[in-house]
């Protein structure tokens, strides 16, 4: 019953895309659209096959994913301990919350100019953009997560004999985890957008770069191919990795309505 439901909802999700592809396959040749303005579906498919065969697509995807991975891991390593340290002290948390809220909503792309000044063009600047997109949101969410753990729960742990380390690993970290996971999901969404923009400006490999260079040669089929890959990769990342992680923590523990 459950797997059937999931199959159906997957089908419903894919159906509009199938319709879009059919319209594309029919309408673009029908109106004989100039390929310099918009490619035919068949041309994009050929470009896809070609770029897989010669290895360029894999190279671009690999470069982009590596930057996201490195930037995200670095951000988490700093953000989670910092967020917990801040969340434990109400005074520190009240003082720093506005700052972290501000930087959380500041678009990742806004960091590109200063990132290229600091790190030059390439891996460093782009990873920095990713780092910022994830870091501020995850720190803010971790801080929020810790400060929403009811004092009674912390008191309960203390009166059951939890010391500082146990308080951290058994109470504060798991208590903040649903917020942390939500932060990672939101942060990665921003990071992914920032990544593509940064790659258009500050590098010579990656999906964003692939799009931007294709434009110089009027290769609309490569541009559209890149756009599809960017979208599909994000959907896969979000649906197969982040959303299940969020569900596993938040729904299982029933911490959605916790305030």
């Amino acid at each position: 019953m459950r797997s059937r439901q999931r199959f159906l909802s997957g089908l419903l999700f894919l159906l509009p895309f199938a319709v879009l592809l059919v319209l594309w396959a029919v309408l673009v040749p029908w109106f004989d659209v100039n390929p310099r303005l918009f490619p035919r579906l068949s041309a994009v498919a050929e470009a896809g096959v070609e770029s897989v065969r010669d290895g360029t697509l894999v190279g671009h995807i690999g470069a982009s994913l590596l930057r996201v991975l490195v930037g995200t891991v670095l951000a988490l390593v700093v953000a989670v301990p910092l967020g917990i340290a801040m969340g434990v002290s109400p005074v520190v948390s009240i003082f720093l919350t506005p700052l972290f809220r501000f930087f959380s909503v500041l678009a990742g792309i806004a960091w590109i100019p200063i990132a290229t000044l600091w790190f030059g063009y390439g891996f460093g600047a782009i990873t920095f953009v990713i780092f910022n997109a994830v870091f501020f949101i995850v720190t803010y969410n971790t801080l929020l997560g810790v400060s929403t753990i009811p004092p009674a729960v912390r008191n309960a742990a203390a009166s059951l004999g939890a010391g500082r380390w146990a308080m951290l690993t058994e109470v504060l970290l798991p208590g903040a985890l649903p917020n942390i996971v939500t932060g990672i999901r939101t942060g990665l969404g921003f990071a992914w957008r920032g990544l593509i923009a940064a790659e258009m400006i500050a590098t010579n490999v990656g999906l964003g770069y692939m799009l931007f260079v294709a434009r110089d040669f009027y290769r609309t089929e490569v541009i559209v191919l890149g756009m599809i890959v960017i979208g599909v990769l994000w959907l896969l990342l979000d649906r197969l990795l982040l959303a299940p992680l969020e569900r596993a923590t938040i729904e299982r523990w029933g911490m959605v309505q916790r305030a």
């Binding site: 309960a156 009166s159 004999g161 109470v171």
Partner: protein
């Protein structure tokens, strides 16, 4: 299990709005003998939860001393188990892991602490719920977990802060009966805070009436055990004692 001694306890807050010091607890002294069950009853704002929070070590004292087994206490510690009105279970741990938490903190190995936890879960008729998460349980079942989580850590004193105030009336009566049964079986030293006079008289050996931060009276409850609501609801002694305590609380 050990005795609990409170001597000349006081608590003074600085009231930020009034800009003056406010004394919540005036010179309270109280002795709970080893294995005794004492209920503290009083209207809201009488300071009963403040006393419990000081005994538990959650808030500092302004004056006096608190001794467990003759030794002064400082900060929260596993010698004083606490049962909270809000249950305060760990939502990210299963029922079994919640109950095994205290032994885990003492460094008891996984197999042994799970055996301890299962023993206490059986005591509260929770064996079936061992692998479920707290949010999957009713309020009454959650508080059963809260009680045995505190007991499984084998504390010297069990502190209960209006533990049954947030469950429905029928469940509350069941929990009260189960608590008297568990108390008779394990004989922990219990200090039980409540605003419900009937609950205090039903559960305790002694009821301490608190008013405006002072002990008003200390009444022995010599009702026979085991106690059940079916037997006591119409019991003349129970009614007389309840009325007496109620008069004191109302005069407070």
């Amino acid at each position: 299990m050990k005795s609990l001694t409170i001597r000349n306890l006081s608590k003074t807050y600085f009231d930020l709005y009034a800009g003056t010091n406010h004394t919540a607890i005036h010179d309270v002294s109280l002795e709970v003998a080893e294995g005794d069950f004492v209920a503290v009853v009083g209207p809201s704002g009488c300071g009963k939860s403040t006393i419990l929070n000081m005994i538990a070590g959650f808030i500092p004292l302004s004056g006096g001393e608190i001794l467990v087994g003759g030794r002064p206490v400082k900060g929260p510690g596993p010698d004083r188990g606490v049962v909270f009105q809000s249950f305060a279970l760990f939502p990210w741990k299963t029922v079994l892991e919640n109950v095994a938490f205290g032994p885990k903190m003492r460094g008891v190995g996984k197999a042994e602490r799970e055996a301890i936890a299962r023993e206490y879960l059986a005591l509260a008729k929770l064996t079936e719920a061992a692998n479920r998460y707290p949010n999957e349980l009713s309020g009454g079942m959650q508080q059963r977990v809260g009680v045995v989580r505190a007991l499984a850590n084998n504390p010297d004193v069990l502190l209960m802060d209006e533990p049954f105030a947030s469950v429905d009336a029928q469940t509350r009566m069941t929990l009260q009966e189960e608590l008297t049964r568990i108390w008779q079986e394990k004989r922990p030293t219990v200090l039980f805070i409540t605003h419900d006079v009937g609950e205090a008289v039903f559960l305790a050996n002694r009821v301490v009436v608190l008013s405006k931060g002072r002990v008003l009276d200390d009444i022995g409850i010599d009702l026979p055990r085991p106690r059940s609501w079916d037997a006591l609801n119409e019991d003349a002694d129970f009614k007389a004692l309840s009325n007496r305590v109620l008069q004191l609380v109302r005069s407070a």
